[in-house]
Symmetry: C2
Subunit: 588 residues, 2 copies
C-alpha cells in the first residue's frame, strides 16, 4: 500500500480565470494584423496565429463580423450583498481557520455559476441574481461533517463546489433563496490517500482535480483512465455527482464503472463502508444514488477507484470518410466486429471544417506542399467532396499487441466504408484541440457570438435521424425568429456503445442587435432538446440535469418515478440542507 | 424489431419438485447394489452409477454412513392455516381468473421458502412457521398494479416470487406477520416482448426463467449471456432483485451491467421510462435501487437487457495445478496480463476430489486405461500430489480468433505456475456438474448430512488468507462443539475481477444424533461469516442479504447508511406493502 505525500498547493502558473474558462495564462485574442491568436504557451496552438478562423466564421454565420467591434464585458456585474448573519459566520470561524473562509465578492460570484452560456453571459453582461454568501474550504471529512451541523443549526443551506466546470446551472443559486448559502469548495481535500497496486485500487479525496490525479498516479505507473474533456479542472467529486463520462471509456469505463466505493457526508451522517469489495450483493446500494445526485443528497468526501497500469502503447489515429453516414456506419460495425479503441470520435462536415479553420499559419514550405498534395489526392483522386467529407479521430491504448490488433481491425473496417487513413498527427491534433477549443466560447462572446454545447445518448438506429432532426429544427426556428445570418449547428459522435452512441452538438449564432441573446439561446436550446427527446434521445449523456434541464424530467420518467425522487430527497434531507435545487429536488 | 410469439406453457417434462431442488424427473438415489445413482435422463450423469461417491463421503466426514439408514422426510410438515379474509379473496377474484389464485397448502408452502439448508430441513423435518396465505399468478403489469392496490386496501402484504431458488431466507415469511401474505408468482409474465437486433436489446418480462430466455433468444441468434448456476429455474426479476452474477460475466457482465432499463410496480405507482438510452446522466437513478432490493420496494415486471450474437466459437478447457496457491497466482496474472475467458473457476483440492468421486463407473476399458495412464503421468512423472493438486475449469466464448488467442494466453500463463492442460472434456464436465450437483444436497440430507454453500467477494491480496481462515475456524469450532466426525469444508474461486475474486464455500457435516442440525449449521455458518468479514470479505458476492445475513449489516456499513435505507423504505413504501422484511427493512 503506497501512501503518497500530500500534494503541494497549485503554483501561480496554475491560476485560473474567474471571468472566463480556463487557466489565466491562456486566452484567444485578435492580433494587430487582425488574425486570431491564442496567447500563452500552454497548448500546442498557443502563440500561433489562426488566419483562417475569422473568415471562416463570417462565411458560416453569414455575418459581417468586425474584429474591431467588441462587446466589452462588464465583469463582474453586480454582486448581491451576502446574507450572512454574524452567528453563522462565528460558527464557521469556530470550525475553520480564517484562510478557509472567504466572503470576497468575486469569489462568491465564481462559486455561484458553472459554464453554461447563460451563466457566462450573465457575469459579463447581465447579472447572476444570487450567489453564495460565503465560500468555505474544508480540509477533512470531519470539517465537512461540522459544516453540515453548522448549516443545520443556523438554518442555512450548502452547495458543494468542485472544479466549477458544470454546464447545467447546477451551481447556480435560487434567486429567492432567503437562507444563507454556503459554497463548500473541496479544493483542499485533494489527496490521493493510498494506492493499492496489488488490487489496483486507489482512494482519492473528492476535491482532487483530474489533471492532478493523472499526474500523481502516473508517478506510480498507474492511471485511473478517466478523462472527461474538462479533466484539467473538474474533480473526482464532481465526476461522481454528475455521473461523468471519460473520453477513453471504451478502455477504462465511465465513472460509474470506475468507482467502487464512496464516502458521503449527508444530513443524517456519513455514508461509509468498512471495506471495499470487487463486487457484491448486499442489498440496495445507496452509493449508486450518489452518481448523478448533483449535490442534492450530500457531499462526496472521498472515493475508492479502480486503477490501471499505464498503457504500454498509445497511438493516435484518424480516418476521413466521404460522408457522416459512412463514418457512422464504420463506427457501428466497429462496435459489432471488434473491441473499439479507447476513444473513437466522428465529427460532421461542419466540425471538420471548423478543425481546418483552426489550423495555424504554417511557415514551413514543405509542410504546406505536403498538405496541398494530400488535399489534391483526397479531393481529386479519391473524389471526396470538401463540403461532405468528415473525419474520425482515434486513441488506441493497451499493450503493443493490442494496439496493433485494434489498428488493423479499425482500418480494415474503415476501408469498407470508403475511409482513408489520415495519419496519427490528425488524430493527436483533434484530441489536443479539445482543451484549447474550450477557451473559444468566451472569446467569441466578446464578438457578439454566443455558443454552447449540449449532448444526448441514443440508440444506433435513431442516431442519424436525431442529428438531422435537431439541425433542421434549429435552422428552421432560427429563421422563423428572423435572427441575424445563419446559426452554426454541428454534431459529433463522441462515444460508442454496443447499444448506441453519445451525440454532442455545438450550436451558436451572431447576436449583435439581439438584446437578450442568452435567453434566445436558451429558448432555442430547449427547442433542440424537444427535438432530441422526440427523436428518441436521452435528456443527457453525461452533462446531467441540474436546473437547466429539469423541466424536461416529466417527459422521460413516470409520475411515480418523479414522486419517488422527491420522497426520497425529503426523507434523506428533510431540511433541504443540500439546497442546490437541481433535478426539481428543492422540495421542503 | 422482432416480436416473438408468447411461449407455450411448460410441459409435463418440465415439472419441478416441491420438496427438493430441481426437475421432478431427476433425483439422487441409492441403487440396489448400494451405489449412488442419478435417476432420470436429463443430465450427462443421469442414469449413471457413482460407485466412488459414498466411500469418499465416509472417508472425508470420518463417519460410518450407512446407506440403509434413511432420515425419512415428512414433507410436507405442518402447513399453517391461511389468514385470508373473505373480502380479500373476493377482491382478488375480481381482479384475477380462478386459475390465477391458488390457496392449496403445498403451493403456499413452496412459496414460503427458497433453498437454504434451514428452509429445506424445515419443510421435511421441522416446520416453516408461516407461509403465504394465497398465491397469485398475474399475467400483466396492470394486474400487478391491481394487486398492489388490493393489498393496500385490505391491509395485506406482498412478497414477489420468481423461481423460488433464493438462498438467503428472502422468501421466508415472518412468523409473527398477522397480515395476509400474498405471494405474487410471476411465472405467467414470461415473454420476450421484443428483440431489437440493430441496437442489441431485448425487452423481457420479469417472470421469464433463465433457461427459457436462453432458448427463446437463441432462436434469433442472440443471447443475454447471463448464466447463474440457477439458470434452469431462476428468473430475470429474481436476478435483478438479488443483484445476480452470471457464470460468464467476464464476457457478458453481471446483471447490473446487462440491464439497461427496468419497470417496477411500487406502492406509489409504476417506475417507468419513456425510452431507453445506451448510457445517461439524468440524475439519481432510482432503477439502480432495484438491484438487490429483494422485494422490499416493488415488483419488477419487465426489463430491457443487452443481448449479444451467439458466439462463433465456444470451447471448454481445464488445467491442473500442483496447489491451490499456484492456481490462484495463475488467475491473478491472468487478470493482469490478459482478458480472462468468459468463465474461469478454480476448485481447491477437496473439491477436486469431490469431482473425481462423482465420476461414473466406466465400462469402457480403453477409457479406464487412458485415465490410469493420465493419472500416472500427472502423479508420478510431474510430481503432483493427489492431496494437494487442484483444477481450474475454463469457458472460452467469442470469435474463433478471440478464443484461440485467449487459449494461448491462458495456457502460457498457466504453464508458468506449473499448470498442466487437462483437456476440454474436464472443463465441460466441471460446468455440467454444476447443474446435477445441485440435487445432491437434498439427497444427502436424507442420509443425515446437512450441507450448504455461501460466498463472498474479497480483494486479491486477502483472498488466500480468507480461505484458510474460514476453513480453520470452521474445523476448530466444529471440534470444540464435539460434533460427529469431521466437517466438509471446501472453497472455490468462481469469479475473477481486476480488483479481487468471488470465493464460494461448501460446508457440510454428518448430523445423526444432533437434534437440531439446521440450527447448529446456521450457528456455524454465522461463525464462518464472522471470519469472512474479519478477513476483509464482503457480506455477499451475489446471494444477497435476505433475512439470513441481515444481522451482519451494521458490521459493513455506517449507522447513517443503515438509517438511510430504513428512511428510504419508509418513505417509498410507508405501509410496508412489500413486507418480506429482507435487509432489516420491515420497519413500519
Amino acid at each position: 500500500m503506497i501512501v503518497p505525500e500530500p500534494q503541494s498547493a497549485p503554483g501561480e502558473g496554475e491560476a485560473e480565470s474567474l471571468d472566463v474558462w480556463g487557466f489565466r495564462d491562456t486566452h484567444f485574442d485578435v492580433s494587430e494584423n487582425g488574425h486570431v491568436v491564442i496567447r500563452g504557451n500552454r497548448y500546442e496552438l498557443s502563440g500561433k496565429e489562426l488566419p483562417r478562423f475569422l473568415p471562416w466564421v463570417r462565411e458560416v454565420l453569414e455575418v459581417n463580423l468586425d474584429a474591431r467591434e467588441v462587446h466589452t464585458p462588464h465583469y463582474p456585474t453586480e454582486i448581491p450583498e451576502p446574507i450572512l448573519p454574524r452567528e453563522l459566520l462565528d460558527a464557521l470561524k469556530t470550525l475553520l481557520s480564517p484562510a478557509q473562509i472567504d466572503t470576497n465578492g468575486e469569489t462568491r460570484l465564481r462559486h455561484g455559476h458553472g459554464h453554461t452560456q447563460e451563466e457566462m453571459y450573465a457575469i459579463k453582461y447581465a447579472q447572476l441574481g444570487r450567489t453564495p454568501d460565503v465560500v468555505v474550504y474544508p480540509d477533512s471529512e470531519e470539517q465537512v461533517t461540522g459544516l453540515v451541523e453548522v448549516t443545520k443549526k443556523h438554518g442555512a443551506t450548502l452547495i458543494p463546489y468542485g472544479g466549477g466546470t458544470n454546464v447545467t446551472d447546477a451551481l447556480r443559486c435560487f434567486p429567492n433563496e432567503r437562507r444563507s448559502i454556503i459554497s463548500v469548495d473541496m479544493r483542499r481535500m485533494n489527496r490521493v490517500l493510498w494506492i493499492d497496486r496489488a488490487n489496483m485500487l486507489a482512494c482519492i479525496q473528492a476535491g482532487a482535480v483530474g489533471r492532478h490525479i493523472m499526474a500523481e498516479l502516473k508517478k506510480y505507473g498507474v492511471t485511473m483512465g478517466h478523462e472527461p474533456d474538462s479533466v484539467e479542472f473538474s474533480t473526482l467529486g464532481g465526476w461522481i455527482a454528475t455521473n461523468a463520462s471519460g473520453m477513453k471509456k471504451n478502455k477504462y469505463g465511465n465513472i460509474e464503472d470506475l468507482v467502487l466505493d464512496v464516502n458521503v457526508v449527508t444530513a443524517a451522517g456519513t455514508l461509509a463502508r468498512s471495506s471495499c469489495s470487487p463486487r457484491e450483493s448486499v442489498g440496495m446500494d445507496l452509493r449508486r444514488l450518489i452518481f448523478g445526485s448533483e449535490g442534492a443528497l450530500g457531499i462526496v468526501t472521498s472515493a475508492v477507484v479502480k486503477i490501471f497500469p499505464l498503457p504500454e502503447a498509445q497511438q493516435y489515429g484518424s480516418v476521413v470518410f466521404p460522408s457522416f453516414e459512412d463514418g457512422f456506419k464504420f463506427m457501428y460495425e466497429l462496435t459489432r466486429e471488434s473491441t473499439p479503441p479507447a476513444s473513437v470520435r466522428l465529427v460532421d462536415n461542419l466540425q471538420f471544417q471548423f478543425g481546418l479553420a483552426l489550423k495555424p499559419k504554417s511557415d514551413d514550405a514543405l509542410a504546406k506542399l505536403k498538405s496541398r498534395i494530400e488535399k489534391f489526392f483526397v479531393i481529386n483522386l479519391k473524389g471526396f467532396q470538401p463540403d461532405r467529407m468528415v473525419a474520425c479521430t482515434l486513441v488506441f491504448e493497451g499493450t503493443r499487441a493490442e494496439v496493433q490488433q485494434q489498428q488493423k481491425a479499425v482500418y480494415r473496417i474503415a476501408a469498407r466504408h470508403g475511409g482513408l487513413k489520415a495519419g496519427s498527427e490528425g488524430g493527436r491534433r483533434g484530441y489536443q484541440l479539445t482543451y484549447s477549443i474550450a477557451y473559444i466560447r468566451d472569446f467569441l462572446m466578446s464578438y457578439y457570438i454566443i455558443a454552447e454545447s449540449f449532448e444526448t445518448s441514443v440508440a444506433w438506429s435513431d442516431a442519424l435521424d436525431l442529428c438531422a432532426n435537431v439541425k433542421r429544427r434549429l435552422v428552421e426556428e432560427y429563421a422563423r425568429r428572423k435572427l441575424p445570418g445563419k446559426p452554426f449547428v454541428t454534431a459529433r459522435v463522441t462515444q460508442v456503445y454496443r447499444t448506441g452512441v453519445c451525440i454532442y452538438f455545438y450550436f451558436g449564432f451572431y447576436y449583435k442587435g439581439i438584446p437578450n441573446p442568452h435567453e434566445v439561446y436558451l429558448e432555442l436550446e430547449n427547442v433542440a432538446r424537444d427535438e432530441i427527446l422526440k427523436s428518441g434521445g436521452s435528456l443527457s449523456h453525461h452533462h446531467g440535469i441540474g436546473k437547466l434541464r429539469r423541466a424536461f424530467l416529466p417527459r422521460i420518467m413516470s409520475g411515480a418515478a418523479l414522486q419517488w425522487k422527491r420522497d426520497l430527497k425529503k426523507s434523506l434531507d428533510p431540511d433541504n440542507l443540500f439546497g442546490a435545487g437541481n433535478q426539481d429536488l428543492d422540495v421542503r
